[in-house]
């Protein structure tokens, strides 16, 4: 944070930049929605954002990158990175599908659902624990440790799936995955619940404060008596757990588990965290920011299809948004520092 309040004679410009930096993600989202709205009117004389079908579709589309990005937000705030989440998601999806099929022999679909969800979450904890111990105890750099786990989770997931998708032979899971309550898709409701929990942990608990402290300055955190080792292990478990949730919801949505389910989403999920305002150097970021970041990516990808732009522009657009986000952050820090010094 800059010291705008503490220094009385800072220029207006800095205050303006502060505002821009703090709300840049919201601003982007707003600009995007307005742009697509105007575009849709100009091109097809129809609304984009006021069409509830579009809103619902974008909300559902956001679920996977958001859940992968959620745990990632915690990890990135602590100054780490978790590259294994994509395949942890796939592993969880495959295991959930298998256990669900196996559980149907007991005759109760609800029982097999409970078993499947618990096993899906349980299996997701494993890569998290190993990641955490590699990084906290053995001092392996997060990038390398989780890259190793990326490979292990990938291999195990494909082995369990025997290289193919694992269909679930039961209508219950599909009904949950594609059903709605009062017009709200179940997947979105479940994601909002997980979101609220993670937001609470990060912003309201002592543990949340510890993560910011570790990411800000790990030595200071140690001197302050924070159990950095345990907190780090818990971090990577949280990251794996949200990826596991993404995997379970994938299986529910498609009535099938696939090992490669999360692979194409990994980079989008990291982009969502960064666009949402987290710094890859640690110390800053919020859950709400990541939500906005994930929505921005989803709106771009959905909107460009809607206004019928050639598909490859999607990559360009997401790339430009990432670059601008980071630029705004850098300029704000630079100017803030100069202003405070002068």
């Amino acid at each position: 944070m800059t010291t705008t309040e503490a220094v009385p004679n800072v220029s207006r410009q800095i205050r303006w930049l502060d505002f821009l930096a703090a709300f840049r993600a919201w601003l982007f989202l707003g600009i995007l929605l307005v742009t697509f709205e105007i575009w849709a009117h100009a091109e097809y004389n129809s609304t984009f954002f006021l069409n509830p079908f579009n809103v619902k579709s974008i909300a559902i589309f956001t679920v996977t990158p958001l859940l992968l990005g959620l745990g990632q937000t915690f990890v990135i705030i602590s100054g780490g990175i978790d590259l294994s989440v994509g395949f942890t998601m796939g592993l969880s999806a495959v295991v959930t599908a298998h256990v669900f099929n196996w559980g149907t022999q007991f005759g109760s679909p609800v029982l097999s659902l409970v078993l499947a969800v618990l096993t899906g979450l349980g299996i997701a904890v494993v890569p998290g624990v190993i990641n955490g111990m590699l990084i906290a105890d053995l001092r392996v750099p997060p990038f390398i440790g989780t890259l190793g786990m990326y490979g292990v989770a990938r291999g195990v997931a494909f082995l369990l799936a025997r290289g193919t998708t694992v269909p679930v032979q039961n209508a219950l899971i599909g009904a949950i995955g594609n059903g709605e309550i009062a017009g709200f898709p179940n997947l979105v409701l479940l994601t909002v619940a997980i979101l609220a929990m993670m937001h609470y942990i990060l912003s309201q608990t002592r543990y949340g404060q510890h993560i910011y402290a570790i990411g800000g300055n790990v030595n200071a955190a140690l001197r302050a008596g924070i159990n950095v080792r345990n907190d780090t292990v818990v971090l990577y478990i949280l990251s794996s757990l949200t990826a596991g949730c993404a995997g379970i919801l994938y299986t529910a949505k498609f009535s099938a588990g696939a090992a490669q389910a999360g692979e194409p989403v990994l980079l989008d999920s990291i982009a969502a965290v960064v666009i949402g305002g987290a710094s890859l150097f640690g110390g800053s970021g919020t859950v709400i920011g990541t939500v906005i970041g994930a929505l921005i990516i989803a709106v771009i990808q959905y909107g460009l299809v809607f206004v019928n732009v050639e598909p490859f522009w999607q990559f360009v657009a997401v790339g430009v948004v990432i670059i601008i986000s980071v630029l705004v952050d850098q300029i704000q820090k630079q100017v803030g520092k100069d202003g405070a010094n002068g």
């Binding site: 799936a161 025997r162 594609n178 009535s255 696939a258």
Partner: protein
């Protein structure tokens, strides 16, 4: 190549090349090793191809080696190929992951005296032993005709939607020989149906979630959409989910290319209307047979085309159709 074999055989018969006499004498009980390198190992299509190859290998007494990379990418496939060349099998069956980038690496196999046949995908233009170009050296290309597959998909979809309305292709990404050809065949065939307009293709990077979202966006723009052609497994799975989520079952018809086990449930529940099954086991079987034929001095056709089966609700329980579902 063939001429050399006959010259060698002639020399051997004359007793002029002593070591080869022993070779020829033991040819009947020589156990050949054939290597099968799939486009990727983690795919029901290639796993089923492996089964077909295995069946042929058992009948012919051939040892089959199955090794490949985990993703469809020349960067990971070439090292596997090199390792296989190092093992010196008697023949290589490969699904090349790039039309151009695999040409030089496969030449090394031929230089090492190992005959090459390609399955499913091809190098160059797929026309072999023509004496033109530098990629005509494989002996044979054994595959389904993917352009034809796309045409069959288009015909089936046109029929299902009463020959009118808007449709689009949900595809992986450009540059893959097989999925490009399916799209091409589909679009070519649709030109013969003037009341059907084909919208812009959507590329989903093999992400079912993205394919589902793209479907919904295209549908939101085009409420008169009547059909989608999913050019591979995840494209079709995503489009089918988009239809289901929007409650458009029956209103928008989904044609899926490929038939993994999950397709059975999708067709029965009405999420997918039609599946075009290739015959990967047939590709594997005839790949091994062609390699064996060549190794035992027979000539081999340069192109072996395998068939398709159109699966829908009406025939999915028919055992003659069911056997074309890719098993795991």
């Amino acid at each position: 190549m063939k001429r050399w074999i006959s010259i060698f055989a002639a020399l051997a018969a004359l007793g002029l090349v002593v070591p080869s006499i022993i070779d020829v004498a033991s040819a009947a009980d020589k156990k050949y090793t054939v290597a099968l390198i799939p486009g990727l190992t983690t795919d029901a299509f290639y796993i089923t191809m492996h089964k077909g190859a295995d069946a042929a290998a058992k009948v012919l007494g051939v040892t089959l080696v199955f090794q490949g990379a985990a993703d469809f990418n020349p960067v990971t496939q070439v090292p596997v190929l090199n390792a296989i060349i190092g093992r010196k099998p008697d023949a290589i069956l490969i699904a090349p992951t790039d039309k151009v980038q695999l040409v030089e690496p496969l030449k090394k196999a031929v230089d090492a005296g190992i005959p090459v046949l390609t399955v499913d995908t091809f190098i160059g233009d797929g026309h072999y032993q023509t004496g033109s170009g530098d990629a005509d050296f494989p002996l044979s290309y054994i595959a389904s005709d993917n352009i034809l597959g796309g045409q069959i998909a288009a015909r089936a979809l046109a029929k299902a939607i009463g020959d009118k309305g808007k449709v689009y292709v949900s595809n992986v990404k450009p540059g893959i020989s097989t999925t490009d050809q399916r799209e091409q065949g589909f679009k070519d065939e649709m030109k013969k149906h003037p009341n059907i307009s084909v919208l812009e293709t959507q590329f989903n990077d093999d992400d079912a979630n993205k394919a589902a979202s793209q479907f919904q966006s295209v549908y939101a723009r085009n409420p008169d959409l009547t059909g989608v052609f999913g050019a591979n497994l995840f494209s079709a799975m995503g489009a089918a989910n988009g239809v289901k989520q929007g409650g458009m079952n029956g209103k928008v018809k989904v044609v899926a290319f490929d038939a993994p086990t999950s397709i059975v449930g999708e067709i029965k529940s009405g999420n997918v209307d039609i599946a075009i099954a290739q015959h990967p086991a047939e590709i594997g079987y005839f790949g091994v047979v062609a390699a064996y034929a060549h190794l035992t001095g027979q000539s081999v056709p340069t192109l072996i085309g395998t068939g398709f089966t159109v699966i829908d609700k009406s025939n999915i329980d028919d055992p003659n159709v069911k056997r074309f579902i890719y098993s795991d």
